[in-house]
């Protein structure tokens, strides 16, 4: 018997951007929109594209994408806490030691942590195996602040790394930290900046890895940390 060739529904179409056959990490938010809102978004994007061709101004397209992403993520409530800790800075900024920690998945060439035991995992495989990664403890990569940007690698199955490939500072602003230290905004930096893949097991992060990371930062005399999620 021949398989029935049913037309794809619009709902299936928008869901396919979330690790489906049209997986696109910049547009996976479409899967979180209602079909009605997704259709409004796509139609509006087409309109904006034509207007932008006419006046060479892409800002309206950027704004359309931004609004779509905000709408797509606004109902995501994975962890909820009624209150949280607050540690006031104990010294003026001009005398503090800072570090940088991001979940952007950067590491130095030759120092790959081999996620899931895979040597030289590609970005494509990281995306394909995202749900395996979510069961794993994260690995902390140490990246000296004086590293050259061409010596950095980025791989992360949870976000579109194309901008970070061109310039790591978009999500791992290590060179900008050095700029501000040189301007005297704060006193000192740790020797290394830090990065890990945020798409990991939250339970393992909290129970297994974070206590070690905290010990490391306390021993380094860090007063404050700049943190960047992606």
């Amino acid at each position: 018997m021949q398989k029935e060739n049913r037309p794809e529904s619009f709902e299936a179409f928008i869901k396919s951007f979330f690790y489906g056959k049209r997986s696109d990490l910049s547009f996976k938010f479409i899967s979180e929109l209602t079909p009605e809102n997704a259709s409004i978004f796509i139609q509006g994007l087409f309109k904006d594209l034509m207007d932008s061709f006419d006046d060479d101004d892409l800002e309206r397209v950027r704004q359309r994408l931004l609004q779509g992403q905000v709408e797509g993520y606004k109902e995501q409530k994975n962890f909820e806490y009624d209150d949280g800790p607050f540690h006031p800075l104990q010294k003026p900024l001009s005398s503090i030691k800072l570090t940088l920690l991001t979940s952007s998945g950067h590491f130095l060439k030759g120092r790959d942590s081999k996620p899931l035991g895979v040597e030289n995992m590609t970005q494509e495989e990281a995306e394909r195996r995202i749900f395996d990664s979510l069961k794993e403890a994260p690995q902390l990569s140490e990246i000296p602040f004086d590293s050259k940007s061409e010596d950095l690698v980025v791989r992360h199955g949870g976000y579109d790394i194309r901008a970070a490939l061109k310039d790591p500072n978009v999500s791992f602003p290590y060179q900008r930290m050095v700029n501000l230290k040189d301007q005297g905004v704060f006193a000192d930096l740790t020797v290394n900046a830090y990065s890990f893949v945020g798409a990991c097991s939250q339970k393992r992060l909290l129970k297994k890895t974070l206590p070690d990371w905290v010990d490391k930062f306390v021993n380094l005399g860090v007063d404050a940390a700049v943190l960047v999620p992606v």
């Binding site: 938010f29 992060l205 404050a224």
Partner: protein, 81 residues
């Protein structure tokens, strides 16, 4: 989520934190009751702005670092304009 957990644990260890996140993550950040957050009107994957826009990256980062000193309570969430 991961960075939210890192922020909470570091604060408990008396290390002050500032999170720089894209505006799309606002709900997540608020639900996690984080100490200090700067929300940027940037696209996913580019919380500090577009590639090679050094001036914007420095301005955003500087604004975040200033918030480290200015915030006086948990839940200080500011939009970058």
């Amino acid at each position: 989520m991961s960075v939210g957990h890192v922020a909470r644990v570091l604060e408990e260890a008396k290390i002050a934190t500032i999170v720089i996140a894209v505006k799309s993550f606002e709900t997540r950040m608020r639900m996690m009751s984080l100490p200090r957050v700067l929300l940027t009107p940037q696209l996913l994957g580019r919380p500090l702005g577009n590639p090679f826009n050094e001036k914007l990256q420095i301005t955003i980062l500087n604004r975040a670092i200033q918030l480290l000193e200015r915030a006086d309570r948990n839940g200080t969430i500011q939009d970058y304009y």
